[in-house]
């Protein structure tokens, strides 16, 4: 690629991120008291590198 540089390629990850366990912190409990997920990104499963809970496990 000459004219485009891929900095973050999330093409493959999208599938994995669909089914959350909803155990993470609710947004307004963070610093800003607004709902946005920028700055409020702690996925509890992240450390264990288990990003999602599969749908059938929910």
């Amino acid at each position: 690629m000459k004219r485009i540089e891929v900095l973050f390629d999330n093409g493959k990850k999208n599938d994995g991120a669909k089914y959350g366990c909803m155990e993470c912190q609710t947004s307004c409990q963070s610093a800003c008291k607004t709902s946005c997920t920028i700055g409020n990104q702690n996925c509890l499963q992240k450390e264990e590198k288990v990003y999602v809970q599969k749908k059938e496990e929910k």
């Binding site: 900095l7 990850k13 700055g39």
Partner: protein, 501 residues
Amino acid sequence: MLHTFKFSHRGELRYYLFESENGSLLEIERPVFLYLKNGNGELTQEEKAELDSLDGAVVKEIADELNELKERGIIGVEEERIDIKKSGFIKSLCLNVCHDCNLRCAYCFAAQGTYETENGKQNAESATCNKGGTAREKGNSESLSCGKNEREKSEPADEKTKYKNADEKYMSLPTAKAAVDFLVKASGPRRNLEIDFFGGEPLMNFGVVKAVVDYARQKCKENGKNIAFTMTTNALLLNKKTAGYLDENMDNVVISIDGRREVHDALRKTAGGAGSFDRVLKNALEFRDIRGEKKYYVRGTYTGRNPDFGEDVLFLNDCGFDRISVEPVVLPEDDPLALRLSDAEKIKSEYERFASEYLERRKTAKRFDFFHFMIDLDKGPCVYKRLNGCGAGDEYAAVTPSGDIYPCHQFIGKPEFLMGNVIEGGGVDSAVQEKFQRSTVYTKDKCGECFAKYFCSGGCAANSVTYERDINKTNALYCAVMRKRLELSLAIRAAEKKRGG
């Protein structure tokens, strides 16, 4: 959905392409930027002329590269709508342990801590008095008057409004315990629970805070759950004892300070009308020192008075804070402090200016985190969370000193949003809860077509009600600010990645 944008840093203009469906971020050359913009019919005449002057081989190259990226699934991703069913398990409570405050901030959505509104009046007579903070420490005794008895005396007949005249200003321990019991039960299968001590000023009811922390820990242990505590405080009552306690027991402490002395003191005054800056800064710095690596934030509010709010962020950083959040005020348009749509361009350029300085500081010993510029493109929240947003009224609720339950702290005092009462039991009003459960990024009027949707999560419902009187309507100023913050977060992330960060 593809979104192009640019960011100028130290005289250098860079162009970006963002695929909102999967969060891929690409840096593009200017001709690619023009090519994509042209596809959306967004070019000025000069830009169009510039694009037209490009060599045909260059245009082909651009088209080929974009096609390749599409084939690789990096861009041009179709939206796949997910059937999200909200659970209704409340796992997070904002516990308003005190509807009294030792400050009288001019912009307070809680009416100087009292939450007095036209519809849902708290006890106005005593609301303005200052109970003197830690005097309430004694209030952790079980023998304190129980909210229920007082309610029985004043309960109006109308079923829907039966809790709204509750006049307690300080949450009693029995009420606080009932709130914990409610949370444990309402959380169903959720294991990770949260309580945010909020107010008014929560340290004015410190005794109850301590007692409820112990109680919640014990209850959660018995029920196989974890609990995390947060406190949002104005820092006036932080001293060795309270700070030590918060440091030991709170997972996050959010300290309210607006920035430069003149900005802070103009609006965050004591009941006597004096500025609070000196005391707040001193206490906040002492707290930061004992806090070490543990989580805290200093959090400010900017208003129409300080459109140069970036200076306040940098000032807080100069003072020695390294976790900072500054938010636009939420006030009706006719308020003299309100931010208006006509301020949008000014606000956006201030974020831009400040983002550039932020990038520079992050290379130095003054490195700090600004809440709204921290973005994780590798593994952010799952799509469920992105579509759900804050969870207000669904998995998050606020409890008043008298035990009334509302969708969140900003809905307190609005009788149409009253959901129930923790002492009375009986769960929550399913009609109110359903209203919030039905509201997602998909149901909000403008979000479906917005590149920011998976990061903004559809915005703040309370904000929508304040400005648009409807939780499913978006507010143009809020959206403009949110989109700009997202673009800047992406540009900062891109720059840091290229630096090797």
